[in-house]
């Protein structure tokens, strides 16, 4: 079933896209991640222009993060104040990201930057997640675990604009969550990922938020950052393809449900090891493309024809 994508200006196999949406949806339900880091490279491999893939992915993530955040909202696992501060940074970050994307595209380096960011970030996070969850497995077996301090204090917590975050029981500089949000916003605009797997560790290790609030708050923040990015990408770069987003969402909606059901029966550390293996695999695949000799050293850019 061929479907013509009006913004990408090409036709794709609709069933293939729905299938990809379902697969990534399943994995994102299984591991509780957005799945943008798997979908964006897949869309680019399919021949969808990177600009369209990244911007459309932001649109798709609005729906994915909303349905995830709703579940956390019902369980009151969202620190709204923290989320809003991060969102303020996120909006600025995505504006910078949208602008940066355009500049990089004009000098022909956007593909390289996307690949390098994926290889670097995914490689680093995947590897450390893998090591960390392996250790967690071992530690749990030994059952020897020292008592954790109630609250760690780092120098950046004392920066100006100290704010109370009652729900997280924190009194820290608002600049820290805002900066984390800013980086998250840039990642949404440039890489087409929600940035959850970067935000979550940052919120745990840098903000020292209660673990229970981290996932809900990061999803809450991602809804609005991806929404802002979608509007800006559409307004500035004309790269949001609603037809493509619709196909991805149709598959994703089904996939997520099955994934979540399977995921609830899977042990947390096992799931994290599996996820880290997938993350490292995606990064390795992109690294091979970067280092290996290209089939054709020359490539044409037809955006001037459109």
């Amino acid at each position: 079933m061929e479907v013509y994508l009006p913004i990408a200006e090409m036709s794709v196999n609709g069933l293939l896209i729905v299938g990809m949406g379902a697969t990534v949806g399943f994995l994102s339900g299984l591991f509780g991640v957005g799945g943008g880091f798997m979908m964006t490279p897949m869309l680019i491999f399919l021949g969808i222009p990177p600009a369209v893939a990244v911007a459309t992915q932001a649109n798709q993530l609005v729906a994915a993060s909303l349905s995830g955040a709703l579940a956390h909202w019902r369980r009151r696992n969202v620190d709204v104040k923290m989320g809003l501060v991060m969102l303020a940074g996120g909006a600025v970050g995505s504006a910078i990201g949208v602008w940066l994307f355009r500049q990089l595209q004009e000098i022909g380096q956007i593909d390289l930057v996307i690949s390098l960011l994926y290889v670097g970030l995914l490689g680093f996070i995947g590897t450390s997640m893998f090591i960390e969850s392996l250790f967690a497995l071992v530690r749990r077996r030994r059952k020897a675990r020292g008592r954790r301090k109630l609250h760690r204090h780092a120098w950046f917590h004392g920066l100006p604009l100290r704010t109370r975050f009652p729900q997280s029981r924190l009194y820290i500089s608002a600049l820290v969550p805002a900066t984390i949000g800013l980086i998250g916003g840039m990642l949404v605009a440039v890489m087409g990922i929600g940035g959850g797997f970067l935000l979550v560790p940052a919120m745990i290790y840098l903000l020292d938020m209660p673990i229970g609030l981290v996932a809900g708050t990061s999803l809450f923040q991602i809804i609005f950052t991806t929404a802002a990015t979608t509007v800006m990408q559409a307004a500035v770069n004309h790269t949001v393809d609603v037809m493509l987003a619709l196909l991805l969402l149709a598959g994703g909606a089904v996939g997520v449900q099955f994934g979540t059901r399977v995921g609830s029966r899977m042990r947390g550390d096992v799931a994290r090891i599996l996820l880290s293996v997938i993350v490292v695999a995606v990064s390795a695949r992109l690294a091979i493309d970067l280092v290996g000799a290209p089939v054709d050293r020359y490539a044409i850019d037809l955006t001037g024809l459109r």
């Binding site: 013509y4 709703l70 022909g108 004309h238 280092v291 044409i300 850019d301």
Partner: protein, 255 residues
């Protein structure tokens, strides 16, 4: 519009065309046109189910000769980039921009043109890939630009946007001819021209051009024009759509 409909239309137009063309081409006073040609359809609509299209071009000539059909799409700039190894990684290093490159270019002939028509004549009418003007927007010497020009052609051929030699103009009897022009699904939209030339004794003795419009129709056209005319509003609608779907998924998932 399905391929079958196009073909049915072709057949009808073709029948009409034969009558008209035969009358003109066989005008007894010898002052009739040497060449008459037309497209079976002057517009192609890109719908949501668009998978490419075929258009029949047909016509008649008043005596022996070679028929050359050149279809050219809307022109724009194309940038060709070359990857070099930088710090162990393949990255775009050098680039050349070409101006007024046709987004589509197809040539069909009755017989291979080699030696039949002079190079100067082919160059004048931009017949054949080696005669297509691809003007580089750079002051660099030709020998540096040439590899970029060659790869531009190679990439366009790979994308089936430049097609030379894969379609023939066939004669039906001595005077009537027809050929089929094939457009891939990712064909650029805009105004195309189909140029038909009659070559006799190494010279072009008659020529005719016909326009062809390729544009988006139906939902894909609505979506595209909305996204260009009201880009911010389009973005907001895209978000609202995603919110509705996300909300619905969340609600179903709650069960």
């Amino acid at each position: 519009m399905g391929r079958r409909t196009v073909q049915a239309m072709c057949a009808a137009t073709f029948a009409l065309g034969i009558g008209a063309a035969v009358l003109v081409a066989s005008a007894p006073d010898g002052r009739g046109q040497a060449l008459v040609a037309d497209l079976a359809s002057h517009s192609i609509g890109i719908t949501t189910g668009f998978t490419g299209a075929e258009v029949v071009l047909f016509g008649a000539i008043d005596g022996p000769g070679d028929v050359i059909v050149v279809v050219t799409g809307p022109r724009g700039s194309v940038t060709v980039r070359r990857k070099d190894r930088i710090a162990g990684v393949w990255a775009n290093a050098d680039s050349v921009r070409f101006e007024e490159v046709p987004g589509f270019y197809a040539v069909a002939t009755t017989r291979p043109l080699a030696d039949r028509v002079g190079r100067a004549v082919l160059a004048r009418h931009e017949i054949g890939l080696e005669h297509l003007t691809l003007r580089a927007a750079t002051d660099r010497p030709d020998d540096l630009v040439e590899p970029f020009r060659q790869s531009l052609i190679r990439n366009m051929v790979d994308r089936r946007l430049f097609r030379v030699g894969d379609a023939r103009v066939v004669f039906l009897g001595e005077r009537l001819f027809r050929t089929t022009v094939r457009f891939p699904a990712h064909v650029p939209t805009g105004v195309y021209t189909a140029g038909v030339f009659l070559a006799r004794d190494g010279e072009i003795v008659s020529a005719q051009t016909t326009p062809l419009l390729i544009n988006k129709v139906g939902i894909s056209a609505e979506v595209f024009s909305f996204s260009r005319n009201f880009p911010a509003l389009y973005g907001i609608f895209a978000v609202l759509g995603a919110v509705a779907i996300g909300w619905l998924t969340g609600a179903v998932f709650r069960e």
